[in-house]
């Protein structure tokens, strides 16, 4: 007997440390101190071995850094005083380390700040020191994104536009924010698109005829919902109107060029943007159960509808697989079809939850209708998805110097799903 269906993929562990809903997480790669001297010496000629730690954040602004070897919190910090929207590690891209920023992590909260933390030093000793605090506009729920030394956030005053900052001053010994440079300010893609007659946005007209004004009052893109850097020049922006814009930035001339704008999600807001490097596509989702696959090559997009899935809450990519979570509590594992226009179902998981609940909001309800008392929704919502792609430690000497359990963590892919109940479940062997 089992609570879960045959095709369920079972989590290997659950991290229980947060008491409110998980809102963001990031696998932070930390240099691992190997044990024997000989290895340390040899190591200098090799790439540093990095071990993933999970940094998670919740609705209350609490940050927890988890050691995945012992599955326990190493550090717990009240990073923000409200919901955390984004966590990103700096100075590492595709396992290439940029030592200027390596060791830094940014957290971005709805308390209108981006905080930069120094969480470890060159030898991997963990700390958790606030380095710099950047005030931003977090009225919309948008994330921020960072690539190398540039960071994109919604504009300080106008949530419909974005700013890009140069944060290279963080690499200096002494952080001097007079060096903080705003490379782009209040970039308004919609305005440019209309001005340059990029698109006629016919969907806005259709809406006037067929839809109720209450559904969508704007005939613009509205506020920014999601930001995603593909390269330092290539940026994806998801809007409240459901439009996904792909633009090319020119840092020198401080101008940009619109590559493509897609409207499949209209009129629902874009809720996620995910880059799949292997297939060179970006996946976007909205509140529906469809997923839009944007091809970087062809500069177009396909709309794929997932059956019996409910509304998608997040997408993660590992190897050639997609992990998609829905608001009805399911995590499903898919594979992109060979034609890049369909998804192939692999497995799923749903956190069990009782049908009855204690409810303090029924005070005074003293009728005998037991059915009405204690009924509740039967889902625990997945609220964040994060993937770690395994790295093989090749050098036998280094391999020998690493604790076997650390080695296992390094060499095993991992999916971390954060839930509304504050738990994070971990999956291996994706």
């Amino acid at each position: 007997m089992s609570l879960l269906a045959q095709d369920s993929k079972f989590p290997v562990h659950t991290l229980r440390g947060h008491t409110s809903s998980i809102t963001a997480s990031e696998f932070v790669r930390v240099p691992i101190s190997t044990r024997a001297k000989t290895i340390t010496l040899k190591e200098q000629h090799n790439k540093t071995t990095l071990k993933p730690f999970l940094l998670s954040a919740d609705d209350s602004g609490k940050l927890i850094l988890w050691d995945l070897t012992i599955l326990r919190p190493l550090k717990t910090v009240q990073g923000h005083n409200t919901q955390v929207l984004t966590i990103r590690q700096l100075g590492i891209k595709d396992n290439e380390i940029d030592s200027r920023y390596f060791g830094l992590v940014l957290t971005h909260g709805r308390d209108h700040t981006i905080k930069f933390w120094k969480i470890f030093d060159e030898s991997g000793v963990i700390s958790f020191d606030l380095v710099y605090e950047l005030p931003v506009n977090a009225l919309n729920f948008s994330n921020v994104d960072i690539i190398d030394d540039i960071i994109v956030t919604p504009n300080t005053q106008n949530s419909n536009t974005f700013d890009i900052y140069d944060i290279s001053f963080l690499s200096h010994e002494k952080v001097d924010d007079s060096r903080l440079k705003r490379l782009f300010e209040a970039v308004d893609v919609y305005k440019t698109a209309v001005e340059r007659d990029y698109s006629k946005f016919e969907e806005f007209n259709i809406k006037r005829d067929e839809m109720d004004d209450d559904v969508n009052r704007t005939d613009k893109f509205g506020i920014i919902m999601k930001l995603l850097f593909i390269t330092k020049e290539l940026l994806f922006i998801g809007y409240e109107s459901g439009h996904v814009a792909q633009i090319r930035l020119n840092r020198d001339s401080k101008t940009f060029e619109i590559i493509n704008i897609e409207h499949q999600h209209y009129p629902n807001p874009v809720l996620s943007l995910t880059f799949d490097k292997i297939h060179n596509v970006v996946l976007s989702t909205s509140i529906g159960s469809n997923i839009v696959i944007h091809s970087l090559e062809k500069k177009d997009a396909v709309d794929v509808k997932l059956s019996k899935f409910g509304k998608i809450s997040g997408v993660a990519v590992v190897h050639d697989k997609y992990i998609i979570s829905s608001w009805n509590g399911y995590i499903r594992f898919y594979k992109l079809g060979s034609d890049h226009t369909s998804l192939e179902y692999l497995a799923n998981f749903k956190k069990p939850k009782g049908l009855l609940a204690g409810d303090l909001n029924i005070i005074g309800n003293i009728n005998n209708d037991a059915e009405a008392i204690g009924e509740k929704s039967t889902t625990i919502k997945p609220t964040s998805l994060e993937v770690y792609q395994e790295v093989e430690v090749v050098d036998p000497l280094i391999k020998k110097g690493i604790h076997r359990r650390d080695l296992k963590v390094i060499e095993t892919s991992c999916l971390a799903v954060g839930y509304g109940d504050g738990t994070i479940t971990l999956y291996n062997d994706l």
Partner: protein, 1034 residues
Amino acid sequence: MTIEEDKRIRPYCVALSQIALAPDGIFDGNSSRTTQALKDLYTHFDHVIRPDSQISANLADYVFVPLSYLLKQPKLGDVQLELLLKILSLLIKHCWTTPKSIPYVLAKQLFPLITFLTGGSPNTEDKTEIKSKSSELKLAGSIALEYFFHSLSKQKDAKVFDFFSNVENLPALGHAVTVLLYFAEHGQSVELQLQAIKTLDTLFFKLIKDGEILSYILPGNVSTLTKIIAVPALKTHYTVMIDAITLLGDLLIMVYKDEELKPKINELESIEDALEGTELDVITIEEADLKKVHRTNAWLKATSSQVKIALQSFKKIGFNVRVEVKKTLLTFSQSLLKHCLFSLKSSIPIVVSMISFLSNDPRLKIEPNKTLSLSDTKNQQILNKIISSELDSSVNSFISVIQSPNEERIINTLGAIEFSLRHSYDQLLVKKLIETTRIEMADMLRKTCSKSKVQSISNGAIDLMVISKEVSEFPSDTKLSSIFGKIFSEKVENKLSHLYNIIGSLSDPSENIEELLVDDYGTNYEKAIALWISNNLLNGHFEKSRPERIADEFLDFEEEEMALQETPESAYLVLDYSKRILENIPEFELSQELELVSSIAVDSVGIAAYHLREEFRFELVDYLYPVIDSLASPSETVRKHASNTSMIIADTLYRGSLYELILVNADYLVDAVSIRLSNAMTTRATAILAVCVKIAGYKIIETFKDVLEIIFSLLDYYHGYDDLCIGFFMLFEIVADEINKKYLHDYDTQKLEYFESSSTYSPWGLKNLNQLKNLLDKSQREVIIEEKPQETEDDVEDEINAQDSDDEDLPEDVIPKVEEKKWISPIPEDAYKLLQQVVYYGERLLTHNSVKLHIQILRTYEKIVPILATAPDNLHPITASIWPVMCQQVNNSDPKIIIPGSKVLSQLLKYNKGFLSTRFTEFWSILKNNNLLRSANKSISETQKVVLPGLNSKAYESIVNMLIAGLDSMGRYIPDSITEEIIKTCVGVVPDIERFGMSSDIAWSIKDELYGSLKADQKPSNVEASSGTTYAFV
């Protein structure tokens, strides 16, 4: 000797002479006079002579003269002869020992004479003569011979004469040796036996000192000495054994000494040779030597095989012989190896196996490499070859030995294998041994163990609950008894385990363990044995390196790091294997096979924990759960092993505190439970959660709310399984306990009373007549309202914060009061909601028909209701929801349910007060037709007693208590007519009418009406409960 002394002895010589010179007819050899004269001479002679002094030849002659006369007399008695020999001994010792002091002629006469006097005439098969002589005489003769031989050796050394080089003395020599050997074997006293051996020793090694001569008398010596040594049943005194062994050893060496015989091994040159000869190597000696006239190749061939047979009989010496004997045997064996490796080659395997047998005794501290080391490397090689072939044959015989019912035989073989391996480790043979052990033991187990399931008395969940109660004082002296009790005695098992420990310590066990722990075994028995052997190998390996490792930890940090790297992977292999086994053990229906394999797997974890020390902390995440889970196994054996392992872990990492082990690692346990709960239905996992909660307290409940959701979800789907549900509600009960402990431990229950009196239904808070007067007096009325019961600070604050709902100026958009209401319960809302959830699930499951489940749910309710009562406004809707089903419990036909049901209902009535008045009244209208109440009433009206069978009486009592609780809390909100009805039902069994509280006057009048006023006033005698409980009415 001074002249003085000389003079003191002479008179006695004269006296003796007078007797001795008496003519034949007159002389009486047995007369007391003769005896006295001999005695006088002996005593004084002995007294006068200082131990090391010499006497003059003159005096010697003077003493000897009467003796020589006496000797000529034919009929001397034993006593006289004994004395005579004693005097003669003194003479030899103190006069005739120095070179040239004894003439050859005298010696030639004396030797056969003494021998004859002591042992009778030679060349006779008839032993009656020798037997008839007294023990004392034999002793005196033996001593005399010893001194005599000693004297002869002095002559020989000084080259005066070599007594036995003259062939005419050889027959006498033969006779003397026969007599002495006879004494050594059959001597009536230990003293005589020892002396005979001592005399022989003097003869052989002080006097003769010639292997060639000794070789003539060797066979008789070997056979007699062997008889002495190997007499079964410990008949020979151990000191005699020791001396006999030493003598035999020295004799063999003297005769077979390699240096003298110069044997050489003729290596085989062709296959034909090998086919012809039984022995592979042929030993030959150089014969062209004056010293080897007798000792030829033919002689060697014949005698060495006799020696072999003799040594084989040494096996009869049991293991229980005294350690001194064993030590001598060891020396004996070592000497043979050293000196007779070639000439006695055929006996060497026996010698080796003798040493390995001796090595079983730890007191001898035998170190194979020291004991079996020879200075000559070539010889060492030959010895090693012999040892290897011995090992080979032991291992080969192991198949038949291990199945043997003869315990000693198994132990000896194991000991021999161990000894040989310690001397020369042989990986191939070890592999063979492991293979044999695995297959044979698995086979034996399969034949012996029954297929039947291990009987468990109760379900696993309940078992573990018991553990959770005792968990802090868990028995730490859980010494594990043997695990293969079905096929071996504990001794054999220990020996086998010890052997594998040794093998593990001799070489890196990784290879063996890797080969052992494969997954393609057909049966769990094979897996069990494979893992058991691995455990022992690992134990042995670590045990060896452990002291150094621990020292390293303190001494040198870097060293410790190195040691860490050397942690063999095999330890993790074993862990991994055990985990796979434990994961596949079913929760119930444990067969003996699975019981065995899981016990061993649990041991593996303990062994790994013990040796990995701090490193094992990293493994807890995977291995703590299976161990704790095994604590709840239906098998007592598994539980024992599990508790042993958990104590090892606790000792290693948590200073022996199992409590701390679980407290610190509760998160791992919870995690493991959550995965298992969603994977498969398990009641044991729930029990483990319960243990965690009990130990870690409420703070852990906060972290595993998602697990509770899984449980609720399981209740949604699998509510048909009683055991599962009971397990969950046991957990809930413990959760309620912990919430109570955490938040209500200093909570004044009087506060709950306060909530009661704050009920809006209470009669204006009036408590006495004065208050009533004041109420009626308008001028005082305001005051009364202010005189509300005392409020605690919290409540005052609450009052201040609460908005006055009567306020006419209330702004329109203000949120209604109910929702504004501050959370006043000390219980956090989350916990409150959780308990509420539990109540709702209980409510649904109370429709289930399992009595056990009902009882458990009601028990849980009993714990939860007082906690929920801390927020009375929230209690009302919950009460409303469960009221109908609770009434059903009280109105149930099963008294086991009525009792707890009534208790919970009483609580609800107490904490909800007037809120329930209508429901209570309605319930009474149903309850009054209850069978139990009706039969009780019938009983009262007929006999004025309530007589109910068994539990029914208790059930009745509990209903009555509930009704009283109802009357108590509802007070005037129940119509008087109903109050009367209820009291009529109860009053019979309630001796103290005061218990009816505000209705006590009604009670009094009813009682009076029913039983008369006098009786109503009387203090009742206590309710008497007998087997068919009877309530006596007063």
